[in-house]
Amino acid sequence: MVILAKAFTDGRRYWLWIASLLCVILASFLCYVLQLRHGLAVTGLSRDVSWGLYIAQFTFFVGVAASAVMVILPYYLHDYRQFGRITLLGELLAVAAVTMCILFIFVDLGQPTRVFNIVLHPQPKSVMFWDMIALSGYLLMNAVIAAVTLTAQREHVPVPGWIKPVILVSIPWAISIHTVTAFLYSGLSGRPYWLTAVLAPRFLASAFASGPALLILLCLALRKLSGFDAGRDAIQKLAVIVTYALAINIFLILAEVFTAFYSGIPAHEEHFKYLFIGIDGDHRLVPWMWLSVLLSWVALALLLVPKWRSNIRLLTMACLCIFASIWLDKGLGLMVGGFVPSPLGAVTRYVPTLTESAIVLGIWASGALMITVFYKIALSLWKED
């Protein structure tokens, strides 16, 4: 409670931000009520493209959540001290991201009142069952680790010994959440775009690029807004991690493209063609997919040159490029590309509706609200020191 009180002590700018987030959340909630009444017909989804923005956002934010391991691992396993404070920020980001994931799954359900059937009639044969275990376990672990660390810092005592094994377990667990999420898709025989062993590694690589990129952006924002400095070394180290992850991600995408096009199997080529060239006169996603490619190459160029990478302005730009690029690739292309063309060769357009987008925006706003409150608490503790 003492810790929670820290979240509620600041000036006008802070409250204005909180109030506007709450307004967005409220508006989004009203849209959700509309969806509850009229069904998922209020979305742009269809018989052929039966998952869209909601499930795509879920996938993207599982990646953001998993990426906390990129600060936890160096700090706890390699004793990389510079990551001390940034690690806590990473864990808190994971808590917010997993919560968003759960919300995205929830709003996607056709019968949300029956959600507890997942607990009442569990089906271990379903990957979704394992994803639920992976995500809830990860949420719990990160929440406990962050709370325990914060409490210890407030009382100026070392963290209790029992938390160490929890932290160690959370490392492979972070890898597992995104692996299991990839298995949701890569185990489906009828969807050639997802039916690839590279999907899980690709998910991890793109997560370890986009998540730490977001963390860098958050740290830079914190420095502007509150004067908290995560430390130059820590930010630069994170930037190196992002560079490697981004390069690996680009490599894996190219490996995928090679296999599809050199083998020439039509079912494998079609989805890439739909996304990058367009088929049957539908080219809607083409500019977005190429924008994603362009952004990731620009970011890679900016990050590869040490002089550019250490320039805060260029680093910010690179991180923004990566976040946008991977959001387009994972949050848009992955889902629509997997469903189009359909098993019967149909090219069905999917355009998210306003209602659907507003619901997504509301979940983003609740994520931002969580991050604001969490970081506020952490920062005010550190300020007292």
């Binding site: 017909a41 018989r47 056709g110 997942i118 569990p122 089906q123 639920m132």
Partner: protein
């Protein structure tokens, strides 16, 4: 089930089986193709069997209509993925859905390699012209598909689609019994399944 494609296309534009099925099972009729709900329907040959054609035959066979429905696979991918056990395979081989347990996550739709599952994007009841009181209507937010007329099989009747077909193009029977009509047919005529290479073991055979 075996479908004789030649007999099936004897009468142009015939849709007796579709009408029989959809009125028996209270399947709603929506004008919007993207949101439609369907248990049995026609699709051009080239889309149903994309691998079973070449540049020379496509022009002649590509656009011929083929009847589609749930394949009631031996090893159905849709059943494995359901997180709440709302769809399962009965001992008689029918893949069925519990409309009261389905949470509407649509994982089964993503998993079905045949595109045979439909989702109720909106309340289906206003879109049913004449409600058949002997079969339940569905609510919005659940998945549905062909049930091989299990409610009729229980009463010793054949599926509505097979019985409504004047050309007798649809032959239904127990594939496990070697002396059944459908097995005899499969011994005498060449038949193919949709995407057998996926290992799902579809129970609908197309006699070509």
């Amino acid at each position: 089930m075996a479908i004789d494609l030649q007999k099936c296309r004897q009468k142009d534009g015939c849709d007796h089986c579709i009408k029989a099925c959809h009125s028996t099972h209270n399947v709603p009729q929506f004008a919007d193709r993207a949101r439609e709900v369907k248990w049995i329907w026609k699709e051009p040959f080239k889309n149903v069997f994309p691998a079973a054609q070449n540049g020379y035959t496509r022009a002649f066979f590509g656009d011929l209509p083929v009847m589609l429905a749930c394949n009631h696979c031996d090893d159905p991918p849709c059943v494995g993925v359901c997180p709440v056990d709302a769809t399962w395979k009965r001992e008689n081989g029918v893949v069925t859905i519990d409309f009261h347990r389905c949470i509407g996550c649509r994982y089964c739709m993503a998993a079905c390699p045949y595109g045979t599952r439909s989702f109720n994007w909106q309340d289906p009841r206003p879109a049913i012209a004449n409600v058949n009181p002997d079969f339940p209507t569905r609510t919005q937010g659940v998945v549905e598909k062909c049930n091989f007329c299990e409610e009729r099989l229980a009463k010793g009747q054949g599926p509505a689609c097979a019985e409504s077909c004047e050309e007798k193009a649809i032959v239904f029977g127990d594939l496990a019994r070697p002396d059944s009509e459908v097995r005899q047919l499969l011994r005498s005529r060449f038949a193919v399944q949709r995407k057998p290479e996926l290992g799902t073991g579809p129970a609908i055979y197309y006699i070509v």
